[in-house]
């Protein structure tokens, strides 16, 4: 099997697989992530492309540059709806905005699969959801942190993403994980805007305001990379820095010792799973439901191991490990 | 006989700006059916009085009486409702709009429901222009017209209001003799209809012809009320300046035989068709012609602004080609443009920056300016030319028009230009400042520099030029000694159709 067995979606959230009516030969599939600004979605796209090449399907990617440009993404979905595509693999920062358009897609007989998500009850019925559990991943890294550093009191800073589902879930998972542990005290939590620049500024600022911070958790790898430069600049090489994603550059930073650990969510493999499921849906052999892709916690050793298998990564590491 | 009640009367009106008392207890009576001249040096407060009467600003103290009753003119709209129409000194047309719309701006004819009646706008404005004997299409975009035409639109705008009081603040600065005559005709007609007219101009010959009475201001005060001065240029001048001025045109003759500059058969796409002349060391060559005859365009052609399509220019016997203004300046030419406000001055600089602007290359070594030399050179010039000493410390927007004009000319003294083209150098400056400019011209020619003088003031042109070139339709028709030309000759010559006897003009030497 190319992917783990799917879990059924919530009541009424499953669109009927047998109503999917592909029109093209080979299949024409649109990959529509929320933004091109995140390597993460490019990595998923590479997984999708890899499978498309194996299986002989046609894929194209369409996404706005900025993740904040939801209006732009809706415009693109609208433009895709006027074309004869057979399937849409999408990710969005605003499911309620996308719902009416995706409903139209389902009604037109397209297969609609959501990636990088664990929402079992998308506001309109769709065919499949592929992704890791956002909450479980960061819960795991909290557990890992307790195991490795939990023996003495720690002051923790959190760098959130821009407000929304992903930020809430990831930060929520981390907070759930450390809840009840007296040694963890969250002293500050601010927005790092999902990017390196924002993470750097946020890191600079929270370290200025709380020079006694011991640990920073950021809701993605870019922000923790940005924060790592701030820590370095302030001579804080002792601070524990935790991220989320398993972005290649994030892993390289961990291998280099600049960042402590991350949740590796293997976007490339997620993309492969999503593409297999979509093709199966078009063939009528996919039962529908949520495919949970695995997550692991990688510290410097683990990161090295992952980097030694570059065929499972995108982008490629900058050097051979 | 009891004096009639004036239509408008100012009683002890004062108005101060930061640092100046622009109107100081001014009293003036404006009678229906009379053209009232308001005269005085630059900055004596004429425009201030007019702005007060037009509702643009409120007086600090004093009363304004309308038919003997005190009124408040709260804004320009109120002035309009009280029957006041004003042609302001600063252009107040909107260049992006059509002529017709400009004429009715702020007062557009509207149908029921408040919808603008465009048919009526154009029909009515065409009628007004016809009354002025001006041939401009009402659909034309005003900004594309010549300066003179725009000025006529301004006047049409005031006429269209059918006002009982018309105020004209230097309406003729951009007009030629011909247009001035037509304007005067119209004003006389309106006066005879019982309209009150307030008229401001620095061209005293013209004032002498049109006004019925004059009020003279000095430093914001009325120095001669209506009826106290005979309407005659020399009386007016001595009242304005406060002393007798013996000679209005102190012309010195410094022309030599040596040819410095020569143009042969110049033509451009901007309207210059056939321009040939020679200019001698120390000579003032006047360009005479009607409005729009293309004198400014000749200046532009000589200065490298417009590309030549035919002909050649020689400097000191050698053929030169100016691809841009920079080339002309480097070769020793200078242009004092007709609109010093828009084309001449840097209002963000003090006098020194303005004076050295054309000589930065000479002041700099490896790109670094010698600020000491700049300071000293400009201080000397400011003293030499009797420019207000304020100019050393303040930016030039604080200076009077005459001082500003001297600074623009000083720029070319500093750069040591050999040939100066002065386009309307005395436009809008008072008689005292005019004489200063004439003396400056003498100083220049005495130092061996040559001058091309463009002026719409015929008396000035005749008096200050050594020779005069008659310009028609962008071509120089002939060149004659100024002494051999009378005022009437000049008017006739420049208005003449092409004179076949002078197709190949023999240049007359001074």
């Amino acid at each position: 099997q190319d992917y783990p067995a799917p879990v059924p979606l919530a009541e009424g959230a499953q669109a009927p697989i047998d109503a999917i009516a592909p029109k093209n030969e080979p299949f024409r599939i649109a990959y529509m992530p929320p933004a091109t600004e995140f390597n993460y979605y490019i990595a998923i796209g590479e997984g999708i492309k890899a499978v498309a090449e194996e299986e002989g399907a046609e894929v194209f990617m369409l996404a706005p540059q900025s993740g904040a440009d939801i209006n732009g993404q809706m415009g693109m979905i609208q433009d895709v709806l006027t074309q004869d595509v057979d399937a849409i693999i999408f990710g969005t920062h605003d499911e309620f905005a996308a719902a009416p358009l995706l409903k139209q897609a389902v009604d037109k007989g397209m297969a609609v699969v959501m990636i990088n998500s664990d929402i079992p009850n998308f506001p309109t019925p769709i065919h499949g959801v592929v992704g890791y559990s956002q909450r479980n991943g960061t819960h795991k890294i909290a557990d890992w942190a307790i195991e490795n550093y939990g023996s003495e009191p720690l002051k923790v800073g959190i760098i959130e993403g821009q407000p929304g589902y992903h930020s809430t879930e990831r930060v929520g998972g981390f907070l759930d994980g450390i809840e009840g542990n007296e040694n963890f005290e969250v002293v500050v939590s601010i927005d790092g805007k999902w990017n390196v620049e924002g993470g750097n500024t946020a890191g600079m600022d929270i370290l200025q305001a709380h020079p006694d911070l011991d640990m920073i958790f950021a809701a993605n790898d870019y922000m923790i990379i940005g924060a790592s430069y701030a820590a370095k600049a302030l001579g804080r090489s002792d601070i524990v820095l935790l991220g989320n994603d398993g972005d290649t550059s994030g892993l390289e930073e961990i291998a280099a010792g600049n960042v402590t650990a991350t949740v590796n969510t293997s976007p490339f493999l997620m993309g492969k799973a999503a593409m297999h499921a979509t093709l199966d849906a078009l063939e009528g052999t996919y039962p529908g439901g949520w495919i949970e892709t695995p997550t692991t916690i990688e510290d410097s050793e683990g990161a090295l191991a992952v980097l030694q298998e570059p065929e499972k990564l995108f982008p490629q590491p900058s050097k051979e490990y | 006989m009891t004096a009639p009640i004036p239509l408008w009367e100012f009683v002890d009106v004062s108005k101060a700006y930061p640092g100046v008392l622009a109107n100081d207890r001014v009293c003036i009576k404006l009678l229906a059916g009379s053209i009232h001249g308001l005269l005085g040096e630059n900055g004596c407060g004429k425009s201030t009085l007019i702005k007060t009467l037009s509702g643009v600003q409120q007086p600090d103290s004093g009363q304004i009486l309308f038919n003997g009753q005190p009124v408040v003119i709260s804004d320009p709209q109120a002035a309009r409702q009280l029957g006041i129409a004003t042609v302001f000194q600063e252009f107040s047309i909107v260049p992006t709009l059509s002529v017709g719309e400009n004429i009715f701006l702020g007062n557009m004819p509207r149908s029921r429901f408040g919808v603008i009646d465009w048919k009526k706008v154009h029909a009515d404005s065409a009628a007004v222009l016809a009354e002025l004997e001006v041939d401009i299409p009402t659909e034309a975009i005003t900004g594309s017209l010549s300066v003179g035409e725009q000025q006529l639109v301004e006047i049409a705008k005031a006429v269209a209001m059918d006002a009982r009081m018309i105020i004209l603040d230097e309406p003729t600065a951009a007009l030629g003799e011909d247009e001035i005559e037509r304007l005067h005709g119209l004003l006389r007609k309106m006066r005879d209809r019982g309209v009150a007219i307030l008229y401001v101009s620095h061209r005293l010959d013209e004032v002498e012809r049109i006004v019925d009475e004059v009020t003279i201001l000095r430093n914001g005060r009325v120095v001669r009320a209506s009826g106290e001065t005979k309407i005659n240029v020399s009386e007016i001048v001595s009242a304005m300046v406060g002393e007798d001025i013996a000679e209005h045109y102190p012309k010195e003759r410094n022309a030599t035989q040596e040819v410095v500059f020569e143009a042969r058969g110049l033509a451009t796409n901007a309207g210059v068709t056939d321009v040939s002349f020679t200019l001698h060391r120390g000579e003032v060559l006047g360009l005479g012609g009607v409005l729009g005859s293309g004198r400014t365009e000749i200046a532009r052609a000589l200065f490298g602004t417009d590309d030549l399509t035919a002909g050649e220019v020689r400097l000191n016997g050698r053929k030169v080609k100016f691809r841009a203004e920079t080339d002309a300046i480097r070769a020793g030419l200078a242009l004092v443009p007709e609109n010093r406000k828009f084309d001449g001055l840097f209002f963000n600089f003090r006098a020194s920056g303005n004076i050295t602007a054309a000589s930065l290359g000479g002041l700099a070594r490896f790109g670094v300016l010698d600020l000491k030399a700049e300071e000293k050179g400009t201080r000397d010039l400011i003293r030499d030319l009797e420019i207000s000493s304020q100019a050393e410390e303040k930016t030039v927007n604080f200076l009077s028009g005459g001082n500003q004009q001297k600074i623009v000319i000083a720029r070319w003294l500093f750069s040591d230009a050999q040939v100066l083209i002065l386009d309307e150098p005395t436009q809008g400056i008072d008689i005292g400042a005019k004489i200063a400019v004439y003396k400056l011209i003498n100083k220049l020619t005495r130092a061996g520099k040559s001058i091309i003088l463009i002026s719409s003031d015929h008396d000035e042109l005749l008096a200050m030029s050594d020779r005069i070139a008659i310009v028609q339709h962008g071509a120089i028709k002939r060149t004659v000694n100024a002494a051999e030309l009378s005022h009437d000759d000049l008017v006739r010559a420049s208005a003449d159709p092409i004179d076949h006897n002078h197709r190949h003009p023999e240049e007359a030497l001074a």
């Binding site: 091109t36 990617m61 939801i70 209006n71 006027t82 407000p163 | 107040s92 719309e101």
Partner: protein, 333 residues
């Protein structure tokens, strides 16, 4: 009518048609009816906001605040609908009033505070987004009111509703600019404010009014944005102000003020959207979209600027048939 559809429209119209032709040649999906009605949805928000931006430009101002104002207004609308349970019929008029009031505030600061509009609205661009973040802890508010969506996605006789909004508001704007006192005063103020003062036009009031119009139209755009996305978010509308200005500029409005045709802005907006649509239909990456949009802005303004040079060049190229001859040829025919 000749006044409304004047020669200023020829250029932008030609540009739009040329761009549409090129797109139609690259993909046969462009001209299918579904896509054409899709276009009117795509253009609607930016084109409606651009009405205000253009009118501000006509009066020689500039409005950089509209994108942030959209974010702020969608958040206020979301707040009203989701947490205050106001009915739509009340919330929407309130949003329009708030938009107009914010515009009024900017207008007053600009006109009566004598602060250049670039600066006033730059400050607003920054501050409004900050204000938007104060609602709901800066989190987007999703899933507002089921009745909101049809405002954007609804149809009347098979035509998307936004098409009618465009017709209505552009019709109103064209009428205002060409046939009312206010419209002409806006042009006069943009063309020469000093002259406008002297002719008794209340210049400050007119300037402030253009910002009220802009605020109102931004609110209309914000309501459509919230309806389209069924949510409010402090991140919405980023760079929307630049797109609206781009529409005006591609339509030929001069930033110096005083001239331009409001309908040309609609064509400018259409041109931009057609290009984006064409690139989307051809699955061009967003990098290409940005580059093409930049080039279009330059070209549109450039062609307008170099009109004289271009026609001189054309004349030289087609020298054998100078104008006079063509005219006589016509007579002969």
């Amino acid at each position: 009518m000749r006044r409304v559809f004047d020669t200023q429209l020829i250029g932008p119209f030609a540009a739009m048609v040329i761009v549409a032709l090129i797109v139609a040649l690259t993909t046969d999906r462009f001209l299918n009816p579904g896509n054409l009605s899709n276009l009117s949805l795509q253009v609607s928000i930016v084109a409606l906001i651009a009405i205000g931006s253009t009118i501000v430009i006509f009066a020689a101002g500039i409005d950089l605040s509209s994108g942030s104002m959209v974010a702020l207004l969608t958040m206020i609308l979301a707040q009203m609908l989701k947490f205050m349970d106001l009915p739509l019929a009340l919330a929407i008029p309130l949003i329009l009033i708030i938009g107009a009031s914010l515009g009024l505030l900017l207008g007053l600061i600009t006109a009566y505070g004598r602060i250049p509009s670039f600066i006033t609205t730059l400050a607003a661009l920054i501050a409004f987004r900050g204000l938007a973040l104060t609602f709901n802890n800066g989190s987007p508010i999703f899933s507002l009111d089921p009745a909101l969506e049809p405002i954007f996605y609804g149809k009347l006789i098979g035509i998307p509703l936004p098409f009618f909004y465009l017709v209505f508001f552009y019709g109103l704007a064209a009428f205002t600019m060409n046939f009312t006192k206010l419209g002409r005063e806006i042009y006069a103020v943009g063309g020469n404010p000093a002259a406008a003062v002297l002719t008794g036009i209340n210049v400050r009031k007119v300037q402030a009014t253009t910002f009220v119009i802009a605020g109102f139209m931004t609110a209309v755009g914000a309501v459509l944005m919230a309806a389209r996305l069924n949510s409010g978010s402090p991140n919405y509308g980023q760079t929307l102000e630049l797109q609206a200005i781009a529409a005006a500029v591609v339509g030929g409005a001069s930033l110096a003020g005083g001239r331009g045709n409001i309908l040309a802005t609609l064509m400018g907006a259409m041109t931009i959207v057609i290009v984006q649509n064409g690139l989307n239909l051809n699955a061009a990456p967003s990098s290409v979209q940005n580059i093409v949009l930049g080039v279009i802005i330059l070209l549109a303004v450039g062609i307008d600027m170099w009109r004289a040079e271009i026609s001189a060049l054309m004349a030289r190229i087609f020298r054998r048939t100078p104008k006079a001859q063509t005219a006589s040829e016509k007579k002969a025919a």
